[in-house]
Every structure is written in C-alpha cells, then in structure tokens.
C-alpha cells in the first residue's frame, strides 16, 4: 500500500536531481528566451559578442576556482590578488619591458601568492576562509602602495590585445576562455590530478590513507588558481586599457556564484568546468539583460545577490535530496 506513492516520489526526486544538476544550462535557456522576447537588442551580433567578452575574464578564473571549490576550499583574496597583479602589469608596462616578461612575472606572482595561501592553510591547519580573508587585506594594501591609489593607464599593447584583440571574427579573450575551459575540463575529468582533487574534496582522510598527498594536491590546486587569476588580471585590465585599483571586491562574489550555479558544490567532492561556463553566462546575462532592460545598476546588485542565495540554497537542497535517496536505499 505504501510502496506506490513512495515509488512515485523516488522518480520525482530523480527528476528534481536532473533539473538541479543542469540548473545553469536551464537558467541560461530561460534568460535567453526571456531577453529575446522582451528586448529587440539582445539577439544582435554586437550584443552577443559584448556578452561573451564580458564573461571571458570570469570564465578563465572560473576554471581555477572550480578546482578550488571541488577540493573543498575557498579563496576570498582572489579579487584583490587579481587587482594587484593588474597593477604590477601596469607598472611593468611603464618601462620598456617586453610582453613575455610581463606575462611571466604576472603569472609567477599569481602562482606564488596563491600557493602561499594554501601553504599557510596546510602548515597551521587553518580554514581557507580565514587565511584568505587576511590575505585579501594584504593584497589590497599592497596594490594601493604600489599604485599610490590611482589607476595606471598606458598598458603594454600585448595586454591590450589580450583584452581587446580579435583573431578573425572572434575576440581573443573569448578564444582564451574557451581554451581554458576545454583544457580545464580535460584535466578535471581525465587526469590523475583531477581525480586527486575530487578525492581530497570528497574525503581527505580516505584520500590520504589511499596514498594521495593531500597537502601537495591543495598547493597544486592553488597554483592552478593563481595562474588563472594572473591571466584574468591581464585580460580584464586590457579590456579597459587601464590597471584598475577597485575591481577586487565584486570579482570573488561573481566567481563563487558562477561556479556554484554551474554545479560545483560548496562542500567539494565533485565539480564541472563546463558547468562553470554556464554559471558565468548566467551571471553575465543578469548584467547584460538588466542593462538592456534599462534597469538601475543597483537592482543588478540586488538580483545578483538573490541569484547567489538561490544557488547556494539549491546546492544544499540537492544534497538533501541525495541524502533522502540514500536513506531509501
């Protein structure tokens, strides 16, 4: 008697799980449909390319951040670290240093700073949240000291190309993002490193006992994140042709939101790089769509916050459904 409704519920759970797993893709579909209906400017080539360019920077760092969240860590300092690297690239642009050297210096700074976060967390067994909260302030102060608090114009043309250049009809930054997504996806799903990351995020004790070096994996993830932060810094500075001092605050929020909406859980243990791309699209579409609808940018903040909240709630919600399914087994 009681089996029948239960069976029905079971399949309902499975449908829910399907929607939750593909939530970013579905949200993108909904937003695109709505914007196509309610505006006549959305589905134009110019707007779509500007949308792609808007999300390209987030898409690049999103790859690194997907690995980070999947390993059950978090980094609040990423935004100001990016800003600081932008300022460093701006300062280097002022002297006659060649682009490859600027690129190399920026990448090294990013990798070292981010690895440092993980090393401190490992060494003192501290939660990433606290360490990166402190580091965020250090990066912020450093970038202000380096720039005297004012933005740096006249960037090297290589940096400007990274943000504004085109290869054929495709913006270089968009191409770069797609390359990162594809390579990131392959590393995440097909390599030893990717497997180590989800093992460390899923159950660090089990990973350690199975011979995985948990601390080393965490540093490697941070180094990868640092690399994507550096590239993102150059792309986003290049796009506005200036090294800004005040971009750091919102960046981390947007990226965590994108990764979580994309389907990588806050608690780690699994992740999807392709999902993160759709997560970035959701965030991009909110700004783009509300701009087209001529809604105040303050409302954009509110709606982004709402979407993040909903994403986190959905994240917990899908865990609960999994638990419910588990308990029925």
């Amino acid at each position: 008697m009681s089996t029948k409704p239960e069976k029905k519920k079971m399949s309902k759970d499975q449908i829910l799980i399907f929607f939750l797993q593909n939530r970013a893709f579905l949200l993108v579909l909904i937003f695109v449909t709505l914007l196509t209906i309610f505006t006549n400017t959305f589905f134009t080539k110019g707007n779509l390319i500007s949308l792609a360019r808007q999300i390209s920077a987030n898409g690049i760092i999103g790859v690194g951040y997907t690995f980070l969240l999947a390993s059950n860590s978090v980094d609040l300092s990423a935004g100001y670290m990016m800003c600081m690297i932008g300022i460093i690239s701006g300062l280097l642009s002022q002297s006659a240093i060649s682009f490859p050297i600027i690129l190399a210096v920026c990448c090294i700074v990013g990798i070292v700073c981010s690895s440092w976060n993980a090393a401190v967390e490992n060494k003192f067994n501290l939660p990433p949240f606290l360490v990166t909260l402190a580091m965020q302030q250090i990066f912020r102060g450093t970038l202000m000291l380096l720039s005297n608090g004012s933005p740096i114009p006249n960037l090297h043309k290589g940096i400007i190309f990274m943000g504004q250049g085109y290869i054929g009809p495709i913006p270089f930054s968009v191409l770069l993002m797609l390359i990162f997504i594809v390579i990131g996806h392959i590393i995440f799903s097909r390599t030893q490193f990717g497997r180590n990351v989800i093992a460390v995020g899923g159950n660090p004790e089990a990973a350690r006992v199975s011979g995985i070096n948990v601390e080393k994996t965490r540093v490697q993830v941070a180094a990868l994140l640092g690399f994507t932060i550096s590239i993102m810094a150059l792309v986003s500075c290049g796009r506005v042709a200036t090294a800004q001092t005040n971009l750091g605050g919102d960046t981390v929020m947007d990226i965590i939101a994108a990764v979580v909406i994309g389907g990588t859980p806050m608690g780690g243990g699994s992740g999807t790089v392709v999902g993160t791309l759709f997560g970035c699209l959701v965030i991009g579409l909110i700004s783009n769509g509300l701009n087209l609808l001529k809604v105040s940018s303050y409302w954009q903040m509110v709606s982004k916050g709402v979407i993040i909240l909903v994403a986190v709630i959905l994240d917990v919600f899908s865990e609960r459904i999994y638990d419910r399914m588990r308990n029925k087994e």
């Binding site: 097909r190 390599t191 030893q192 490193f193 497997r195 989800i198 093992a199 899923g202 159950n203 004790e205 089990a206 990973a207 350690r208 006992v209 199975s210 011979g211 995985i212 070096n213 243990g269 699994s270 588990r326 087994e329």
Partner: protein
C-alpha cells in the same frame, strides 16, 4: 517493582542486524550491568532507550506504561538520563553551568541569570555526593577525571529514575572510582535504578545486582550476579560459536615478508615485535583502545611511530605516509569505513581505484579509462560485489558490498602485506564469510595478512597465529587452536597474571 521492561527489541541498519529479539527488565533501586564484547549491541540498546533512534521491532514500557522516546531530551523528561562515554561538556563554561545546562532559568534573579545561585546549588549537589570539584572552575581547566565527575553530577542532577552509565570509570583514577561507587550506592538507596555498561568485569561483580550479557546483538542471559563466577561470565560473553563458519585453510608458509621490530610510540604502544610470513594470517585481538589500530597506523604511515623498524622482505623501509607504505608493498583496509574509507560522492569505480589509479596514468597524468574500467570490472567480478555497475554511486551499495569495494581498493595495489582492520564490522553474515574467503584467496597467492578484529571467534578462527594486545603491548602470543577463547578473553581484559612476551 519493575521500572523498565524491554520486550523483543530488534534493530536493523540496512541489512545488518544490530539487535535481534532482546528482552530484559530493570527493577527499582537495582544496579543492572550490561556486559558484552565491542559491537555486541550494548550501545545500540542504550541509544534505543534514549530515543536516539527507534527500534525496528519490539516495544518498551516504563513504570508499566508504553515508552516510546522520540529523542534524548524526551527520554530525559520521562526520567532516563545518561552519562556518556565520550565527554559532552562545553569547555568554555564553568562547572556549575555545565551541570545545569539547559536549566539556567532556575537561577534567575530580577530576570537575569545569577551565577552565584547556580554555583551554590552545584556545591550543595557536590557536597551531598562527595564530589570534589570547584563549581566556579572553567571546564577546560579540569582533568579528564574531573570532567567525568561533572558529567556524572549532571546526569544525577536531573533526579531521573534511571541513570545509564556507559563505561563511567574508564577515565577515572582509583579515588574517583570509589566516589562513583558511593554515588551509585546512594542512588540505589534512593530507590533509583542504574544501568551500568563496563568492560571491567570486576566492577560488574562489585557493583551490580544483576547482569545482562549481549553477544552478536542477542541477549544471552539475564541473571543475578550472586552465585556467578568470573569464568561463567566470560563464557557468556565469549560464547561458543560454530567453528566452521571460518573457512580457514592450512597453507604452506613462505619466507617472512613483514617484520616489525621494537615499534614504539610514547603513550600509545611500546616495543611491538612480530613477523608475518607469506601466506600466513596473523591476528591481533584486544579491546578497542588497546592500541591495535594505532600500531597498524604506525606501520602504514598514517601516524608515524617514534622508534622501531619495519622490514619488508628483509629490507628496512620507512613509511612516513600511506603513499610510502603502498610503494613498499603494504596496503591497509582501514577500520573506519565512513571516515577513512568511502568517498561518498564518488562512484564504485573511482572508490575502488582510489589507491591504484595513478598506476594506469601515462607520463602526462592522463588516466587510461580503458585500463581502469577493465581492472575495476575484473575486481568487481573477483570479489562478487553486488552493484548495479561500476558507475553506480557508492552509497547505493549495502555496507557489506561497500566493504568489498574497500578491500578491492587495497587488493588493486597488489600488496605483499595486507593489513585488515576490522574488515567485517557492520557487515552482514553472508558478506562476512565472503571476506574470509578473500583472506584465504590472498594468503594462497602468498600475501602476508594482518587481521585485526574485535570479534574474538573471528580472529581466532581465521588466524594462523594470534597476538593479544593490551594497553599498547603484546601481552600474549598463541599458535592456532592453542588457547581457548576464555584464556584469550582473560588476557585481553588483563585478568590473569600473564607474562610479557617480546
């Protein structure tokens, strides 16, 4: 007069029978001892009494009325309080606040909490029971024994009809044990009842009026302690089980594969020496907390020992991490499947290959999916894991089959030495005998096997040689069928004057 009656209680966790058809009763003003090995079902029974989870079958009555506690605070409201084995105190609060936790509203003055009243009430309680702890002290500054006394004071402060004590003396010194005995006698004089769980069998004789013995989730006997001898009690606890459920095969033994020399870790284990030959199963018996798991974690590099040597094939190896142990040919199936074993978000395949997948990676670190799939399916077949497929989520498997995946994880590394820590815990009977078959299979292939188990008949039935561990030392060594369960049990509990062997 009967205050509590437990009628035909059964409890299943998935396919595991933790309790089957348990019945006993408790009289007013009585001390009833619960005895049994680790995993015999005592804790499950206590959790049901406290309402932590409901029984699958059966019912209970309290004071003649049906008793169905919804949660521990409901049980408390109905007059059952418990002293937990692990300490449940808030370290940053004072002794007095911990004793009266959740009942601060009794100590209000002008609508504000008055700590003086609270401490005065605590002092009064302590004085009347002879407890010597300062109520004003912060709990984190107390010794473990003092914390245990605070815990005890809290349990009796509820004026409950029944006080359950789960190994209350394990953290106490002799002086405090005497205080506890006085408290128990005082409680019974007030016509309150005490349910007492202990591994120290002398305490059962000293304190209890009656004893209930649990074994493998069954209630074996309930009888008066008067007239009971120590040997009879040990017989009840250890039991005599059919030997043929352990399909041990006598195999030709090869060379010594694993040697452990003078392995020590201060305060945990001392001077551990033993050898394991190829094809041999060496068992370790001992109570939980005796140091069995810690020794194995030392060998496997989870917690590095202070001194001593581990030799594999006669060569000294240093295992500073599980990675190094695995590289040296030692694999381990860990005791705690949830914490150190299963990665619940991974599927069966990824769980099974977790310690091994790096071997099917090419130089660039790409996993060869073909090899991984092939080897996983092969292992699923060899261990006959019941699963919907290698891609099924790990949580969709029964406990026994999850354990098979954990064993498969160790076997895939093709170890020379396999350490199995409680490989059959939480596993149903069918899967148990399959796991014993794997032991034989591995032994036949020349693997040296170390088997740890709290289930004495199991470790006796499967081992070629048996080491008994107590308080971090090997206190006895036996060849197969040399010693009786009673003798080994006595050595585990430290009852007889055994000679130290090294």
């Amino acid at each position: 007069m009967k205050i509590l009656e437990v009628n035909h209680i059964s409890k299943n966790f998935y396919s595991t029978h933790a309790l089957s058809d348990v019945s006993f009763d408790l009289m007013e003003g009585e001390v009833l001892a619960l005895a049994g090995e680790n995993g015999a079902g005592k804790s499950t029974m206590m959790n049901i009494l406290l309402g932590s989870f409901p029984p699958t079958k059966g019912n209970m009555s309290l004071n003649g009325e049906p008793y169905e506690p919804k949660n521990p605070s409901d049980a408390l409201g109905k007059g059952i309080s418990m002293i937990h084995q692990e300490l449940c105190l808030v370290p940053s609060m004072t002794v007095a606040e911990n004793v009266w936790i959740g009942r601060v509203k009794n100590f209000m003055k002008h609508g504000l909490y008055d700590y003086r009243q609270c401490e005065a009430a605590t002092q009064k309680l302590f004085d009347s029971y002879g407890i010597d702890v300062n109520p004003h002290e912060t709990v984190k500054n107390l010794s473990t024994a003092q914390m245990q006394m605070v815990e005890i004071a809290r349990a009796i402060s509820y004026d409950s009809r029944i006080v359950i004590m789960d190994e209350p003396t394990s953290a106490l010194s002799d002086k405090e044990v005497q205080v506890l005995y006085q408290i128990i006698r005082r409680l019974t004089a007030e016509n309150r009842s005490v349910l007492f769980i202990s591994h120290k069998l002398e305490e059962v004789f000293e304190l209890a009026d009656r004893v209930v013995v649990f074994r493998d989730g069954h209630m074996i006997v309930q009888r008066d302690v008067k007239g009971l001898t120590m040997n009879e009690l040990i017989n009840y606890i250890a039991g005599r089980k059919v030997d043929n459920i352990y399909p041990k095969q006598d195999l030709e033994k090869g060379e010594v594969v694993l040697s452990v020399r003078n392995l020590s870790k201060t305060g945990v284990y001392q001077d551990i020496n033993f050898d394991v030959r190829a094809g041999e199963i060496v068992g370790f018996a001992g109570l939980v907390g005796a140091g069995r798991t810690e020794i194995m974690q030392g060998i496997y590099g989870i917690v590095v020992p202070d001194s001593g040597e581990v030799l594999v094939d006669g060569k000294a190896v240093r295992n500073r991490s599980p990675r190094e142990a695995l590289d040296n040919g030692i694999a381990m199936v860990t005791e705690d499947r949830l914490r150190q074993g299963v990665v619940k978000k991974m599927n069966v395949e990824k769980n099974m290959t977790l310690a091994y997948f790096y071997k099917v990676c090419n130089k660039l670190g790409f996993i060869s999916q073909k090899d991984e799939d092939h080897d996983t399916e092969d292992m699923i077949g060899r261990l006959s894991v019941k699963t919907a497929g290698k891609d099924a989520p790990i949580w969709s498997l029964s406990g026994g089959n999850q354990q098979k995946v954990m064993i498969g994880r160790a076997l895939m590394t093709q170890p020379k030495v396999l350490i199995m820590d409680e490989p059959t815990r939480g596993v149903d009977v069918g899967a148990k005998s399959e796991i014993y078959e794997y032991c034989n299979m591995m032994a036949k292939q020349g693997v040296a096997i170390v088997l740890i188990s709290s289930d004495l008949p199991e470790v006796m039935g499967m081992s070629d040689r048996l080491n008994v561990i107590r308080e971090g030392k090997i206190v006895a060594r036996h060849d197969r069928n040399e010693a009786s369960a009673e003798q080994i049990m006595a050595e585990m509990f430290g009852l007889r004057g055994e000679n130290h062997v090294n």
